[in-house]
Symmetry: C2
Subunit: 347 residues, 2 copies
């Protein structure tokens, strides 16, 4: 049975203001309130978690970035942030992700170029392209779409680390990871998915400092940097993974739970502490005969049961997914601003 | 009141063998058994934790390294691993630490050079020294003794990151931290204190995988890399710090506890789960009128009370401290081996 939860904190007006969001924006657009009251026996009030919409939040982020780019163009005639998406091969999923990045860039005013190399490209050739883009002053962000789809042997780690740290808007190079993991958040790019998760957590108004956060997963693009971000925002952080023996117990202690496990509906509502903030990074396809396609997308959290215990929850789809692209755009605009500032003569 | 604990695991013979320790070595030398039985009221058997001696373990490590260096010299006539300790200024504590490093190096057969620069040295001059040492093929390890004692303004972060990653035997550069934090343990240098802590944990025979490890502290040299090491050895890891609200509760869940908080006797025995492995990285001076010096050294753990609940505990002094120097030597010898292997012609 679902039970009453209460949000004991006010949303952070300061953070909202810094990001150009008014409180009413935040409430009416970013957070879709689903307080469905029902009259249960014994007068127990039951309602469901507040849904934190990534679709709406990402739209707000993109709108803010569009204004920032317009402002930059006003100050520096004709200036546009430049992004290159380097792809090797022709994977269908990569093509899909890339087109959504290019669409978002175009909408914001970022000059994005898709550099598609054939799957016969050698490691040396990819490196040459990266070094040339590193040197190009019109490009402020460079991402290499992974996985590489190549018939030659290419070391992805080497390629990722060839991107110069100042243009590594995916935040996946060792240097960026090193800075993030040691708390130097002001001098690194934060990987886009965890950065989007933090933005969604901020939207709930629940402060992170002093909270017990649990992260499931330790991947380079989600779990590990998410741990770092929560830690350096002063949460007490527990990282769980495939070798964790008592996952339900660990999850049950979380005030904030971020799941990047890659296993469909693994986290059950019964495991959760009442009122927890649940951020679900999973994108899994499961069979569903009621759909024309015969399948549907679900997260790593069992939404229907989690929804009845969580304070806040992200849906799948429409939660973390759209935030990833928005935060890539944010990193690119930040990088462009940094390059512009650097080029200005000192007063 | 103290209670019975039991060690439910056998010590890792495989790991011991890999490190050149026989099981009897491990038992008789590395772990000093202090099973002090007492007959309490109500027939409750009481005994104390097994003390994990860093002094003894570090001696074993240094003896092993000495043999490795002799072997290398046999294979490559006259070859010796080379280490440079760069110091700016003349801090008393730094002088003390450096002399213990130089002593250990001399004992093992490492050619160690102490490069002492005056406190008037500029950042540019320090960088020039580092770049020159980076290029010197006779040097395999370079450490910059921190904190820098300089009258000029020097950016320690910049200096630390100027050391080339292949010679960064302190493991403090961003690149090494990035690799460690993302699980690439085979291609980085692990900072010496956490590396020493892992060695002491191995000595207990308690396996790390699947255990709940709690780390107190998130510094670059202890807490943060300790988290990474435990995580990538497959523990479920919680990091606590100054903003943690429920420290006793978090500590009470630990199977393995590593404390690098810098606060004298902060962790109390009452907080601990029975049988926990306690690794204490603290070095604090407190007043003690019974001593001629008027003070004594204690750790971050209240030893007398923790000793009655822990399964294993490191003493202070004689615990983690001596391991730090031993692991610096280990990194230097590993680095030299790597350089030697690289220089060998391919068969």
């Amino acid at each position: 049975m679902s039970v009453v939860w209460s949000v004991g904190e006010t949303r952070s007006k300061h953070q909202a203001a810094r990001r150009g969001l008014s409180p009413s924006d935040m409430f009416s657009l970013a957070v879709t309130s689903h307080h469905l009251w029902s009259s249960c026996c014994q007068q127990i009030r039951c309602y469901m978690a507040t849904v934190v919409s990534g679709s709406k939040t990402s739209r707000l982020v993109r709108e803010r970035l569009k204004l920032q780019v317009e402002e930059m163009r006003g100050h520096f005639s004709g200036f546009r942030p430049g992004l290159v998406v380097l792809q090797v091969g022709d994977r269908d999923d990569s093509n899909l992700y890339i087109s959504s990045k290019l669409r978002a860039a175009a909408e914001i005013g970022i000059e994005a170029k898709h550099l598609r190399l054939p799957n016969t490209t050698t490691q040396e050739e990819v490196l040459q392209h990266i070094l040339s883009i590193n040197e190009n002053p019109l490009v402020h962000g460079l991402i290499v779409q992974l996985p590489l789809d190549s018939v030659t042997s290419i070391d992805s780690e080497l390629i990722t680390n060839a991107v110069c740290p100042e243009k590594d808007v995916d935040g996946l190079s060792c240097i960026n990871a090193g800075k993030l993991s040691r708390g130097d958040l002001d001098h690194c790019f934060i990987p886009c998915t965890p950065s989007g998760c933090m933005e969604l957590i901020r939207q709930t108004g629940v402060s992170v400092g002093g909270k017990h956060a649990v992260v499931i997963g330790r991947s380079k693009i989600v779990g590990a940097p998410m741990h770092d971000l929560l830690l350096w925002n002063h949460a007490t952080v527990t990282t769980c993974h495939s070798k964790t023996l008592d996952l339900p117990e660990q999850v049950g202690r979380a005030d904030i739970l971020v799941v990047g496990a890659g296993r469909a509906e693994m986290v059950r509502g019964e495991w959760l502490k009442e009122g927890v903030v649940v951020i679900d990074c999973g994108i899994n396809h499961i069979a569903d005969e009621t759909k024309a396609s015969g399948k549907r997308v679900v997260g790593d959290v069992h939404y229907a049961s989690a929804n009845q215990r969580a304070g806040f929850i992200t849906p799948v789809p429409g939660g973390v997914g759209p935030m990833t692209v928005a935060m890539l755009m944010e990193n690119t605009v930040q990088s462009a601003q940094h390059f512009v500032m650097k080029d200005q003569p000192r007063k």
